[in-house]
């Protein structure tokens, strides 16, 4: 089945059939990743540009691997060492890259809205790899895939996103995507990190971590983003840890199975202790493997769309 969307800018407004197709197709690619030769010729002859205006390890490597495993030709662009330093405008950079005949652009940028802007100035298919505080759709898709893989469904599940919701694009994509698939999403964190009016999205707010743990099936623990000035929302990291950290003690006190996700990179001892981050309830490294499969799925579905 084809997708109705031409670009993947965010999960807001993406119909559930499209999300379902992306998740189902990713299963095929998950199987490819288990093969001795982890490569298929599907996107042969397609050119993909990875436009990373912001630092990234996981997402960037994951996209690059996904592209290579589909046999696409890839070009990497990062802000440092580019003509951005020489004063070229963003629009001109894109126009020049486009003039070299590219089929798809994967973009990460510190400003929200850049991927959307790209769809207006470029004919290529655009995939958002994270824009400012807006969305990070492939992360939410891989979260959904990982949850579905473990629990067999998304519909009716209760999922709590914990941490700095106000500065998080992962949280927003999770909320939109999971709600579309029929899950109940809540958030938990200090009120300084919860955006105003988030209840208008149908999201419940927890300020008590123990309650959030006991009332949910899945915890998606976000990183406290020091580089995005999270420091001004909380007095100290230790205080955040004391009130909202996911510790073995808090998990054990809750007498039922719970699934713990974390998009990485982990600040051990801040939002999650090492004991939990390496413990039996987490699926953090599964998420990373599934991330490659999800990105292959998105690239395949958008790249071969007629």
């Amino acid at each position: 089945m084809s997708l109705t969307i031409k670009h993947l800018i965010g999960l807001h407004g993406v119909p559930s059939d499209d999300i379902q197709t992306i998740l189902d197709t990713a299963k095929t690619f998950r199987e490819v990743l288990e093969r001795p030769i982890k490569k298929v010729p599907t996107l042969q002859g397609k050119t993909i540009v990875n436009l990373f205006y912001e630092d990234s390890t996981r997402t960037r490597i994951s996209f690059e691997l996904a592209e290579k495993r589909l046999s696409a030709d890839t070009i990497n662009f990062s802000k440092s060492g580019s003509s951005t330093k020489k004063g070229e405008t963003f629009k001109d950079t894109i126009r020049n890259i486009e003039a070299m005949k590219v089929d798809m652009i994967v973009v990460r940028h510190e400003s929200a809205g850049v991927p959307q802007f790209l769809t207006r100035i470029s004919k290529a298919s655009i995939i958002n790899a994270g824009d400012g505080r807006h969305e990070h759709p492939t992360q939410a898709l891989l979260d959904m895939y990982s949850i579905r893989e473990r629990l067999g469904k998304l519909k009716g599940l209760k999922i709590c996103v914990i941490g700095d919701i106000a500065h998080s694009r992962v949280a927003l994509s999770n909320i939109f995507g999971l709600q579309t698939m029929g899950a109940q999403v809540s958030v938990c964190g200090p009120l300084t990190m919860i955006p105003q009016n988030i209840e208008s999205l149908g999201v419940k707010i927890y300020t008590d971590i123990s309650k959030a743990i006991s009332e949910n099936d899945v915890l998606n623990v976000l990183r406290i983003q020091l580089e995005r000035k999270a420091g001004t929302s909380i007095p100290t990291l230790r205080e955040y840890h004391n009130y909202f950290g996911i510790t073995a003690e808090r998990i054990e006190k809750n007498n039922k199975d719970i699934l713990i996700l974390h998009p990485g990179p982990i600040n051990r001892g801040v939002e999650i202790t090492s004991e939990v981050a390496d413990g039996p309830y987490q699926i953090i490294l599964d998420q990373v493997t599934n991330g490659v499969a999800i990105r292959m799925s998105v690239l395949y579905l958008l790249g071969t769309r007629q």
């Binding site: 095929t28 199987e31 298929v40 010729p41 599907t42 395949y300 769309r305």
Partner: protein, 183 residues
């Protein structure tokens, strides 16, 4: 879509499977290291039937696998509809095995070409043989089947429809007028 002829009926269908199973056993002198691999979707069920038949002949069951070749197709750019991919399910290492690739209809040979590429990415089999229920001619690739249920000379404006109990409620092969003329 108008039916022009019924080429194989239910009884004939069963006999054809039986003959193909015997031929596979004969050519491979038993089923040592033989792996039957069905190509999605209909080849998968035909492969299963052949495997069951071989089991009843030899009292040993050959390994069975399912291959999805969507990712290896050469017509992504020319097709109107995006093909749906599904999962390849071959749980054993195919290196040094004798593969019998099973499909319902052999036509241009392009699907078989894709299947050969897909198999090579999974390992290095000692041999690959091709078994088809119907060979309708009009090859576009230098490909020939080792085991053929029935060879049917067709016009390019016709289509061969294989119907199977597992998904279509009956066993049978029909020759029909193609809805898309001149393809």
């Amino acid at each position: 879509m108008t039916i022009k002829a019924k080429i194989i009926d239910e009884i004939g269908f069963g006999r054809t499977i039986t003959r193909l199973a015997h031929e596979i056993v004969e050519k491979n002198k038993g089923i040592q290291d033989v792996v039957i691999i069905g190509m999605r979707t209909r080849g998968e069920f035909i492969a299963k039937r052949i495997q069951e038949k071989i089991t009843s002949i030899e009292s040993v069951s050959p390994e069975l696998g399912i291959l999805d070749v969507t990712l290896y197709r050469d017509d992504f750019r020319t097709r109107l509809k995006q093909p749906e991919v599904s999962v390849t399910n071959i749980s054993i290492d195919i290196t040094k095995k004798h593969i019998v690739l099973v499909d319902d209809v052999l036509y241009t040979g392009r699907t078989v070409r894709a299947a050969l590429d897909a198999l090579m990415d999974l390992g290095r089999p000692n041999s690959i043989q091709l078994c088809v229920l119907v060979d309708r001619g009009h090859r576009e690739m230098p490909i020939i089947a080792d085991f053929v249920g029935k060879s049917i000379p067709t016009s390019i404006n016709e289509e061969v429809k294989v119907r199977l109990k597992e998904i279509d409620e009956e066993d049978g092969v029909y020759l029909v007028e193609s809805p898309k003329k001149g393809l």
